[in-house]
């Protein structure tokens, strides 16, 4: 017992250091001759909400299953909370909601949480205190005494989320946490994610609902064919390759060519106002373009950035690879 306590404090040291909460290096999984995950390398810092995206069959769930000890990596290294995969002290501080959530249907919600609390090594007093809290968190207090077999899909997903949080984890893996939830349920999960972020919990979120990931995540990685195809802060990804519409006064030809050095001009429509459609590499490039136009005394009537969504980024990253593969 005393050893466990000292090991737990080791993890606390890891958190205070600059080591990431999740660190994957060259993680690879091959099923017979099928490469499911290929050289997956990424890191997630403590306290981040990290979106893990990719098309069907990209290797997302296999990656998470490797980290959860359900599937063994063929090669590569991974550390969670600064410890090797499978380390029991680290596992005590990790929560996991599986994608295909199926639980022991003959247990009541409360018994199910009690079982998982026991598996985490929580004593009776801790379980008695924590179970009502997580039941309330997922709005299942009124159904705690009912068997899970009688729950709807959405309720089963919520009790699954409760078991992932029963141990007050420092790192949570949520694999499609809202797949069975209605819009209200999804909003509740977003609120839970915000609360976890506020508590400094690291969240690794795999979801097909990109709008949700966009709202909840600090950083994302888009993987395709088992590799990281793009990664970065959500804000940076959305700002990258910006489409902008400039509504201007008369624009001399030489100034247009100057402008084209700062942004990629796609279309110019002459009229009462000159409308320039362009792509910019960043928000800074747009600012530089506006600055140029102002200095040259070209009236700027409007600069309208086209709001990109994470879905646009996702399609831009994944579609070319898909096209090439055809």
């Amino acid at each position: 017992m005393s050893e466990s306590v000292s090991q737990l404090s080791d993890v606390a040291i890891d958190a205070s250091s600059n080591k990431p909460a999740i660190e994957l290096r060259g993680l690879r999984k091959v099923f017979r001759d099928q490469v499911a995950v290929d050289n997956l390398t990424l890191s997630v810092d403590y306290g981040e909400v990290f979106g893990f995206l990719g098309p069907n069959g990209a290797g997302k769930t296999t990656s998470i299953k490797m980290l959860m000890g359900l599937v063994y990596p063929t090669s590569g290294q991974a550390r969670l909370l600064g410890r090797k995969l499978g380390d029991r002290v680290a596992r005590r501080q990790i929560g996991y909601l599986p994608e295909l959530f199926r639980f022991h249907e003959w247990l009541t919600g409360r018994e199910f949480l009690d079982l998982h609390g026991r598996l985490y090594g929580m004593n009776e007093a801790e379980r008695r205190k924590r179970i009502p809290d997580v039941l309330a968190l997922v709005d299942l207090t009124a159904y705690a005494h009912k068997k899970i077999g009688t729950y709807s899909k959405g309720m089963q997903q919520r009790i699954g989320l409760a078991q992932a949080l029963i141990n007050s984890p420092r790192l949570v893996f949520l694999d499609e946490p809202t797949s069975a939830l209605d819009p209200l349920g999804r909003r509740d999960v977003r609120a839970i994610l915000a609360r976890l972020r506020g508590e400094g919990v690291t969240v690794f979120l795999n979801s097909h609902l990109l709008s949700e990931v966009e709202l909840s995540s600090d950083r994302v990685a888009i993987i395709d064919h088992g590799r990281v195809a793009a990664t970065g802060r959500v804000h940076d990804l959305l700002a990258r390759d910006l489409r902008v519409e400039f509504r201007l006064g008369s624009l001399p030809a030489d100034l247009l060519s100057e402008l084209a050095k700062l942004v990629e001009v796609e279309q110019v429509v002459e009229g009462q106002r000159t409308v320039v459609m362009a792509r910019a590499a960043s928000e800074e490039a747009v600012a530089a373009a506006v600055d140029l136009l102002s200095r040259q005394r070209v009236p700027v009537y409007g600069v309208t950035p086209e709001r990109r969504s994470l879905e646009d980024v996702f399609v831009d990253v994944v579609a070319p690879a898909r096209e090439a593969g055809r």
Binding site: L70, V71, Y72, R91, P98, L100, F101, L115, H116, G121
Partner: protein, 286 residues
């Protein structure tokens, strides 16, 4: 601690799924039927004896113990057979079924070793099956005592051997459940169980017909799955020697008991199969 949690979960599942309730009700029905059968047997036997004594003027024949022993053997055989079937049905999907359903996905990532999951499940089943066997043997023995006024010898030894039969089948079924799907495992284990029973019968016939080849076939099947040989040893120890020599080689028992070495082999067989289950499950992707 984790082993105890999984063992408790296994027992709880059996209760919640009403497996225990169904088994208890059917077992009570069996004991009632058995008691009625024993009562009718004793009545008929005594009236036959009385008629024979009246006809010949001789005293009571010493063969009642032989016949009563056969009735006890029949009862214990039924207990052994039912437990064998129950063992296979209970454990056939214990790992494979959970992998197929996905329920292990939330358990395995917890701070628990995979060997603890296997050992916990084994322990849970072993406790339930052992308790069931003890209760059923007590039911048969009490019936024999109260209705038949007969007490079989070496009942504790016999009970332990019937428990060993169940543990052999449990070990095999657990190993199969880590290797195969539920359906494939069920088919394989039942076929092996059938081979063991048939091998035992062939061995008894071989003994009666003095055929070494047939006896060797029986021994071979006992090596493959020693459940039937352990049952035959159990049947041997719970019968008085008079009954064994009077009845001779028969489908339910034996006149040539398996040796101590066979018992040791069976225990090692169980241990090796459980270790095999752990090793397979330890390496398996879920």
């Amino acid at each position: 601690m984790n082993v105890a949690i999984i063992a408790r979960l296994t027992v709880r599942e059996a209760f919640r799924r009403k497996v225990i309730l169904g088994v208890v009700l059917l077992s009570l029905a069996f004991i009632a039927l058995y008691a009625l059968g024993f009562h009718l047997f004793r009545d008929n036997y005594l009236s036959l004896e009385a008629r024979r004594a009246a006809r010949t003027g001789a005293g009571p024949a010493p063969s009642y113990a032989v016949s009563a022993s056969a009735m006890v053997l029949l009862g214990l055989y039924t207990v052994n057979f039912l437990t064998g079937i129950m063992t296979i049905f209970a454990a056939v999907g214990t790992v494979a079924g959970e992998i197929e359903a996905g329920t292990l996905d939330a358990i395995v990532p917890k701070p628990i070793s995979r060997w603890q999951i296997i050992t916990g499940k084994y322990l849970g089943f072993a406790l339930m099956l052992s308790a069931y066997i003890v209760l059923m043997v007590c039911g048969v023995a009490l019936t024999a005592h109260l209705v038949g006024h007969y007490g079989p010898p070496h009942l504790v030894h016999g009970t332990l051997l019937v428990i060993l039969v169940s543990m052999i089948l449990l070990s095999l079924t657990m190993l199969g459940s880590t290797l195969f799907s539920t359906m494939t495992n069920g088919i394989i284990v039942f076929m092996l169980y059938g081979v063991a029973v048939t091998g035992g019968l062939v061995e008894q016939l071989g003994t009666a017909l003095n055929s070494d080849t047939m006896v060797r076939i029986g021994v071979g099947s006992s090596i493959l799955l020693p459940s039937d040989s352990m049952w035959r040893l159990a049947s041997y120890v719970v019968q008085p020697s008079l009954a064994i020599s009077f009845i001779g080689p028969n489908p339910l028992g034996t006149t040539v008991p398996p040796s101590d070495r066979a018992v040791h082999y069976s225990i090692v067989y169980c241990v090796m199969l459980v270790i095999g289950s752990v090793l397979v499950f330890q390496r398996r992707d879920l």
